[in-house]
C-alpha cells in the first residue's frame, strides 16, 4: 500500500484510519514499517499513537461463553445426524488405501467365519445376583482366531490365546464386555448405550467405532489403538481420573509396572496386521518372535541353544506356514530346527 509518510493525522484521523486499525486490531506485521516510519517523522506522533492504541484496544465486549455442556450436547445431536453408524466417515472415499481396508475386512470376515465354525467353543457362566445378566465366554486357543457377533450387531475378532466374556443380551444402559488377550472391535453405533471393554488394568469406552485392544497377561503393556471414531481410555483402579481420549490413528499404551498411560501414533500394519492374517515382526528379538509364533500357531518352542540377536528382526508373513517362516528365520538367525508335532526344537 503506498501511503504518504508525512500524512498529517490528528488523533481522530488515526482512530478512523482503516490501515491503522489493521495494524492495531489485526496485529498485521506488514504495517509495522509504515507506522514506525510515520511515528519517527514527528515527535508528537508516538504519544498520539500510544493514546489511539489504548483507546482501540480498551474497548472490550462482555463475553458470553458457550457452556461446555451445551457445546457437547449440541455436538452429540449433530454427530448422530451426520456421522453414520459404525464409523466416522459418511462418504465412502475412493481412496485405494481404504478400499484395501474394506476388502481386507471382507477376507477377514470369511476367514473368521470359517475359524469360528471349526474352533469356536463357548462356556456359559452366571454372574452375581445384582446383575442378572447371563454371560458367555468365547475362547480363542493358541494358534486360532475367532470372530464373534454380539447381540447389538457389533463384531469382535479375537486373536489367539484370548478370551472375551459378554452377555447374550446387553443391559439397557451399557454394553459391557471383558477381555483377556487381544481383540479387534467394530462397534455398532449407539449414542445412548456406551460400549465398554474391561481389561485387567484399563477400561475402554466408546459409542461406535473400530479399535484394537491388546491386553495379554504376559505382556508388559496394554494397548488401545483406534481405527475409526473416538475412544476413551481410563485406568480401572483410578476411574474418573486421567481419562485419555483417542482419535483415529492414535494409540494409548498402559505400562502395567509404572501404572501410566501414554498416547502415541501407531502404524496400521504393526498393530492391525494380525486380524488380516499377517504376522508382523518389527525390530523383534528372538524371544519376542518365539512368543509370537507360539501364540499364532499354537506350538511350543524348545530352544536348546542361545540365539544371538544383535540385529532385531523385521518382517511380514502373510498367510504363511510355520515351516516357511522357520526356514526364513533359520537363515537370518543361523539355527537348525526340527518340527515334532506341536513342538519346535531349535538347535
Amino acid at each position: 500500500m503506498s501511503r504518504k509518510k508525512n500524512l498529517n493525522y490528528s488523533l481522530e484521523d488515526l482512530l478512523n484510519d482503516n490501515y491503522f486499525h489493521k495494524w492495531i486490531i489485526d496485529s498485521d506485521a506488514s504495517c509495522d514499517e509504515f507506522w514506525e516510519n510515520w511515528m519517527k517523522a514527528d515527535a508528537t506522533r508516538p504519544p498520539m499513537v500510544s493514546k489511539a492504541r489504548k483507546i482501540l484496544l480498551g474497548i472490550e465486549f462482555k463475553s458470553d461463553p458457550m457452556p461446555e455442556e451445551t457445546k457437547a450436547r449440541l455436538w452429540r445431536k449433530l454427530e448422530s445426524k451426520v456421522v453414520p453408524a459404525g464409523g466416522v466417515y459418511s462418504v465412502a472415499p475412493k481412496s485405494s488405501k481404504l478400499k484395501w481396508y474394506y476388502s481386507a475386512a471382507m477376507i477377514t470376515l470369511v476367514a473368521g467365519a470359517l475359524a469360528s465354525i471349526l474352533y469356536f467353543r463357548s462356556v456359559s457362566t452366571q454372574k452375581g445376583a445384582t446383575h442378572p445378566i447371563a454371560y458367555t465366554e468365547s475362547i480363542s486357543p493358541m494358534g486360532q482366531k475367532t470372530t464373534i457377533q454380539l447381540a447389538d450387531g457389533s463384531k469382535v475378532k479375537l486373536n489367539a490365546s484370548s478370551s472375551l466374556k459378554y452377555p447374550k443380551k446387553f443391559s439397557p444402559e451399557t454394553r459391557e464386555v471383558y477381555l483377556e488377550g487381544e481383540a479387534f472391535f467394530e462397534v455398532q453405533k449407539n449414542s445412548d448405550r456406551p460400549f465398554i471393554v474391561r481389561t485387567s488394568n484399563i477400561t475402554v469406552s466408546v459409542l461406535g467405532t473400530s479399535f484394537n485392544v491388546s491386553a495379554y497377561a504376559d505382556n508388559k503393556d496394554i494397548s488401545v489403538a483406534v481405527l475409526t471414531g473416538e475412544v476413551m481410555v481410563e485406568n480401572t483402579l483410578d476411574a474418573g481420573n486421567g481419562q485419555l481420549y483417542l482419535e483415529p490413528r492414535e494409540m494409548a499404551i498402559y505400562d502395567k509396572d509404572k501404572h501410566i498411560t501414554r498416547k502415541t501414533i501407531f502404524d496400521y500394519k504393526e498393530i492391525l496386521d494380525w486380524k488380516d492374517g499377517v504376522i508382523h515382526l518389527k525390530d523383534a528379538n528372538f524371544q519376542e518372535i518365539v512368543k509370537k509364533l507360539e501364540k499364532w500357531f499354537g506350538v511350543t518352542f524348545d530352544v536348546r541353544r542361545e540365539i544371538i540377536t544383535e540385529k532385531d528382526f523385521t518382517g511380514r508373513f502373510q498367510n504363511k506356514s510355520l515351516e516357511y517362516i522357520l526356514q526364513g528365520l533359520s537363515f537370518s538367525f543361523d539355527f537348525d530346527y526340527e518340527i515334532d508335532g506341536k513342538q519346535i526344537i531349535i538347535k
Binding site: E12, K54, G58, I59, D64
Partner: protein, 213 residues
Amino acid sequence: MKNQAEDKLRKDAHLFLSYKSSDFDSHSDEEIWQALLKGSSIAFKYIYNKYADLLYDYGKKITKDNQLIEDCLHDLFIELWSRKASSANIRNLKAYLIISFRRKIISAEKKLSKYEKIASHQKFEMDLTDNLSELMEKEDNNLSALKDALNELPQRQKEALYLRFYNHLSCQDIAEIMAINPQSVYNLLHKALLMLKNKFTTFSILLGAMTLF
C-alpha cells in the same frame, strides 16, 4: 492446470479423511473447507469446535433466547453438512458462518414476534479494559460514564464495533454480514469511535486540569 489443482485438493481431502482433527491446526480455513466438501466429518467436527463458541457469543449479543441460539446453531451446522456441495465457493468461512447464523436468528425472531412481543434487552454490552482505565486514571465516575456512553451507542454501531474489534473481520465482511455497503460500515465505526474520542478527550482535559491544582 485447473485439473491439476483439483487433483491436489482431492488428494489432500483424502489425507484429511484419515487424520485426527488436531492435524487441522496447521491448515487454513480454505483447506479445511475443501476437506469438508470431500465429505470429511473430521473437518466438520473441527469447524464446529473452532466456531461454535464464537457464534454462540454473537448469538447472545443479538438475542436473549438461549433455545433459539441453540436451534439456529444446530440448523446452521446441519445445513453446512448437507448443503456443502452447493456452496462450493465461499470466500471466508468465518464470515460465511456469521452471515448464515445472523439470518437464521433474525428470521426465527421475526416468526416468534408474530405471536409474542420480544422483550428488548441490553445488547452488545461493552466493557472497558485496563488499558482504558489506565488512561482514565481510575476515576470511577468517569469510567462508568464512558462505559454507559459506549453501551448507549446505537445497536448497529455496536454490532459493527463488535465484528471489527472482537471478531477481527474486515469491513468488507461486516458489510456482507449486516447487509449494508462497506461505506456504511466505515460510517458506523467512525461515529462510534468519534464519540469515544470526544468522551475521552473531555475526561482527559478534566483530569489534566485537576492535576494542575
